[in-house]
């Protein structure tokens, strides 16, 4: 794509959110090099994220722009970037006390967080295989380090190695798939692939189809879809709680947004076998995720399997394609972000925190079900927030999760995807059991007649954490009762996906 010289300032302006993210990573690194103190570093990080978020509105004014062949800054990308930046902000706030606050030297963490957010931003805006891989690797490599950041304890290291191996493997599959698609069509741009496939006599041959299947597999690993989900519970359990929140939200959300763009723009939705395979994967993901969650006794593992099931629900909306599908996926993803951040936020606040392991810090997070016994009566607000988050995951009214599930079901029913829809209903019914188990554990009357050491609940939330959790809960309930605010935002932004054939965008506009 030839960019006329006069468009350069506008292109730069459109790229501002990404540029600001990269710049703040550099600034934070320099600041940490000269003044090793976590508090100012964290403040700088937060400021960078806020600036980047604000510049989204600037880019929005520029309108939908293709910046080089690699990136497209349309409203779809901007919406998901906003989601990623906001989630990173929450994670950064949650990290501070957890990693030891002022006492410890965890400045590098914030650089990595910013880089990971940058990777997510590049992913949702990419329109080319090259930028796809670039964003993915930026995100994954930052995540290896983030997961294993408390390097003196055993669990995070194990989780980091597991993630490293599987992420490397899935990147390999992705690359091979991209190569095969390139071998057939000779282009790596999503839009060009789409136009070539839209030609009447052009279909994916064996090469291209195998390539697409490999790409879906590679993405499936990242999204933890069944049967590529094995790593999830171990990594979720081993990683520090705020980083788990990051993996569950930013990493998965960015991948899903990218996959949806690829399917719609590059015309992969027309491929019958792939759609069939994805439906099967969705059904299996929902059922197996929910069933395996029943067997867990660890809250982080339950949430891991729950997030597997949630991705299965998202896939049902995804498979509807069309404008309504984009809206449904975007709403559900927002609800999922808020909920997962809130749930892992509570786990973070309850955990003593992991730092450099010098003085008797907790070896692991408070994540056993027994740690939550009677929480309702000791820490009512925290337990209330956790309950709200769990009910939202279960899709109970008054929460965003309910509207999200409604959206997904609407998209599924509209596209007549009966089997995935039934799987969703069955899966949700199964899922209630393990959510209720956590809630029931929290409202146990007298766990062994008050023998609970008070110290178990000693992890006190910092002011920033309390404010963040309260804001998340407020969002959860506010947008659950009056979802129109978010729906209007979605209608004006996310459905405008550059390069989608018009007929697709129209089928869903009701």
């Amino acid at each position: 794509m030839n960019t006329p010289p006069s468009a350069l300032p506008l292109n730069l302006m459109a790229l501002f959110p990404l540029i600001l993210l990269a710049a703040s990573a550099v600034v934070v690194m320099l600041a940490a090099a000269f003044y090793r103190h976590p508090r100012p570093v964290m403040m700088l990080t937060l400021a960078g994220l806020v600036l980047s978020f604000a510049s989204l509105f600037l880019s929005r004014g520029v309108g939908s722009r293709q910046v080089t062949a690699l990136l497209v800054l349309d409203h779809y990308a901007l919406f998901f970037m906003g989601l990623i930046v906001a989630a990173t902000f929450v994670v950064a706030v949650l990290c501070y006390r957890y990693f030891g606050g002022d006492e410890s030297r965890h400045e590098a963490l914030y650089i990595l967080l910013l880089l990971a957010a940058l990777g997510g931003g590049v992913l949702v805006a990419s329109s080319h295989f090259a930028s796809f891989l670039l964003g993915l690797e930026l995100l994954s490599i930052s995540l290896f380090v983030l997961i294993a950041y408390p390097r003196f304890t055993e669990w995070p290291l194990e989780a980091g190695i597991k993630y490293l191996i599987l992420a490397g493997f899935s990147s390999g599959l992705l690359l091979f798939g991209m190569a095969l698609v390139y071998a057939q069509l000779g282009t790596m741009q999503f839009a060009k692939i789409g136009t070539m496939l839209a030609a009447p006599d052009q279909v994916l041959e064996l090469y291209g189809l195998a390539g697409l299947a490999l790409i879906v597999t590679g993405v499936g690993f990242k999204l933890a879809l069944v049967p590529f989900h094995m790593w999830t519970p171990d990594v979720y359990e081993g990683a520090p709680a705020p980083i788990t929140a990051f993996i569950a939200t930013v990493s998965k959300g960015a991948m899903l947004a990218l996959l949806l763009r690829y399917f719609l723009v590059a015309g992969a939705y027309q491929s019958q076998p792939i759609t069939l395979a994805l439906s099967l994967v969705a059904v299996m993901t929902i059922l197996i995720g929910n069933l395996l969650a029943l067997l867990q006794d660890n809250v982080k593992r339950i949430l891991a399997y729950s997030s597997i099931a949630q991705l299965g629900y998202l896939l049902v909306g995804f498979l509807a394609y069309g404008g309504l599908a984009i809206e449904a996926v975007a709403y559900y993803l927002t609800a999922y972000f808020v909920t997962m951040l809130g749930a892992f936020g509570v786990v973070t606040v309850l955990s003593g925190g992991l730092n450099d392991g010098s003085d008797g810090v907790a070896e692991r997070d408070s994540d056993r079900l027994a740690d939550y016994a009677g929480l309702f009566w000791h820490r009512p607000w925290l337990a209330g927030i956790f309950t709200a988050m769990l009910l939202s995951l279960a899709g109970i009214p008054l929460t965003m999760g309910f509207i999200g599930k409604f959206y997904i079901l609407t998209a599924g029913v509209e596209a007549s995807l009966w089997i995935p829809v039934v799987a969703l209903v069955v899966g949700s019914a199964i899922g209630l059991y393990y959510y209720l188990r956590i809630i029931a554990a929290m409202c146990v009357h007298d766990p062994k007649a008050g023998s609970v050491p008070e110290a178990k609940f000693a992890g006190t939330a910092s002011l920033a954490e309390s404010v963040t959790l309260a804001a998340l809960t407020f969002l959860l309930i506010g947008l659950g009762v009056y979802p129109t605010l978010l729906i209007q935002l979605l209608e004006t932004t996310v459905v405008h996906l550059a390069g989608v054939p018009e007929f697709l965008a129209l089928t869903g506009s009701l």
């Binding site: 409604f406 029913v413 509209e414 949700s428 209720l436 009056y482 209608e491």
Partner: protein, 500 residues
């Protein structure tokens, strides 16, 4: 306006009593009592007004309505309306609200604020269900009332509360999701034929559908309501939940939550899918008759007081289902009457079970015996409500069951005679109940104090209502005419369905 106030008062009262308990321990019950008191006064005032109220011109029989946009993207509106049947059910809900606050007065000592919050929110959800005329809003309230009910059973319940509460929640929620899919299918069938995306009840009436689609969608609704009502193969959650719930929970479950299922059949299943309901009616009626007989027989076999009463609910609600699917003015009037009378008589039996349990810490009937000599007042009330439940003439249950059987016999005399056989079984279980608990020697040496003034006031007022319903049922039958008298199109379809 008044309709949203009916819901809002309960919601605000719930929050207030939770707060009040933090500031002033012990004040929560007063706030709760005031809330349900105001609610009851308002609903009775509405009932008195309704006689003179002008029916809304657009839809005959609706005497209050409110509509506001909520989620315009999906054509969802905040649409409440009240006709006769919703009015009497709301009155019942408010009255049982007062009863349940009164019977928790001394039973609930721990975390009273949160308890009354849950109680009032359950009631708010039920009132919402009875008033909502937007299918999305209906579903919203339908799910919303489950959560506080879950907490009531899970926190203040008896020995097996975890099992019972989770079972209750999964049954209700799972079937609810099935209904959501059916609602969406109906909405999209309507959208594809008219181009209007709406969840509004009036607009979705008379949606043209292919017979197979209609049957499938109707089944989605039917199963959700059948779980709640409960109709026989879907009833297994009920004995557990009723038995393990605290007294107020049992009263609300039996008196109000079960009615939402029957109400849903009456309001949604038959009017929205007249052909499919007509086609399906023989099956539904057979299930209803099975429930009547099966519930009565199982009730007889129980040793747990509350479990016995729970099974009688299965039997009594079976009559309501029979009446609804027989769909003629007599049987519908009978079904409405049965819903109200069952709410009062079963509610009272649960209150009595609760009073006994509070004093003796057991519900096992073999451990009672000879209580008449110790607690004559309670025993008299127990006898009164036991014979009310068995359907003695002069009580509300008799009127309901009689009208249902009368209406049913014109549709299916076989089912009518099967259901009538349950009268025998119900005499057996009711008298067995009285016999085991109150008659005989006081072999266990119980020394219990009789009813307090509060308990007497509760039970006497319930007894008075049961008698009033039995002796002068006309006000209730008047209040439910809209459905009973005006279903011409449905009745015709129904007759055709039966003729096949």
């Amino acid at each position: 306006m008044i309709l949203s106030a009916l819901i809002f008062i309960l919601v605000a009262g719930g929050l207030l009593s939770w707060m009040a308990d933090r500031w002033h321990p012990g004040s929560a019950k007063w706030v709760a009592l005031a809330t349900v008191g105001i609610e009851l006064v308002l609903t009775i005032w509405l009932w008195l007004q309704s006689a003179s109220a002008m029916a809304l011109p657009a839809h005959g029989g609706w005497f209050a309505e409110i509509r506001a946009e909520w989620i315009p993207r999906f054509g969802v509106s905040f649409h409440l309306a009240m006709d006769g049947i919703s009015l009497i059910l709301v009155v019942l809900t408010a009255f049982l609200g007062v009863v349940s606050v009164a019977c928790s007065w001394t039973e609930i000592q721990e975390r009273a604020g949160f308890f009354y919050f849950n109680l009032l929110w359950t009631l708010a959800g039920a009132v919402g269900v009875f008033l909502a005329l937007d299918l999305f809003l209906f579903f919203f309230f339908w799910e919303l009332m489950l959560v506080p009910m879950y907490f009531m059973i899970a926190i203040w319940g008896h020995e097996r509360r975890q099992y019972a509460s989770i079972k209750f929640f999964i049954f209700a929620e799972g079937s609810g999701l099935l209904m959501l899919v059916a609602i969406l299918a109906l909405v999209f069938v309507h959208y594809h034929s008219t181009g209007v995306l709406t969840f509004d009840y009036f607009e979705l009436l008379n949606t043209p559908m292919s017979p197979s689609a209609e049957l499938w969608i109707m089944l989605g609704f039917f199963i959700a309501f059948a779980v709640k009502a409960p109709i026989v193969p879907f009833h297994t959650w009920l004995p557990d939940a009723h038995t393990e719930a605290p007294t107020a929970g049992s009263v609300i479950l039996a008196g109000v939550l079960l009615k939402t299922g029957a109400y849903g059949l009456l309001r949604f299943v038959v009017p929205l899918f007249p052909d499919a309901a007509g086609y399906f009616a023989p099956v539904a009626m057979a299930l209803g008759a099975t429930g009547v007989v099966y519930g009565a027989f199982l009730a007889f076999a129980q040793t747990d007081f509350k479990r016995l009463v729970a099974y009688t609910s299965v039997s009594h609600l079976g009559f309501a289902v029979l009446g609804i699917f027989a769909w003629n003015p007599w049987s519908l009037g009978g079904a409405a009457m049965q819903m109200i009378a069952h709410g009062i008589s079963t509610g009272a039996l649960f209150v009595i079970a609760g009073i006994l349990q509070e004093r003796t810490h057991t519900r096992d009937m073999s451990r009672f015996g000879g209580l008449w000599s110790v607690m004559p007042r309670l025993a008299a009330m127990g006898l009164f409500f036991a014979i009310a439940a068995l359907g003695l003439p002069g009580m509300g249950n008799f009127v309901g069951e009689f009208l249902v059987l009368m209406g049913l016999s014109s549709v299916s005399s076989v089912l009518a005679s099967v259901a009538a056989a349950a009268f025998v079984a119900s005499v057996v279980y009711a008298l067995a109940l009285v016999q085991k608990i109150f008659h005989g020697e006081n072999t266990h040496g119980w020394q219990l104090h009789d009813l307090s003034g509060r308990e007497m006031a509760t039970l006497y007022s319930m007894a008075a209502i049961a008698l009033w319903l039995g002796l002068y049922p006309q006000p209730v039958l008047d209040a439910a005419p809209g459905i009973a008298n005006g279903p011409p199109a449905i009745a015709v379809a129904h007759q055709e369905g039966n003729a096949e």
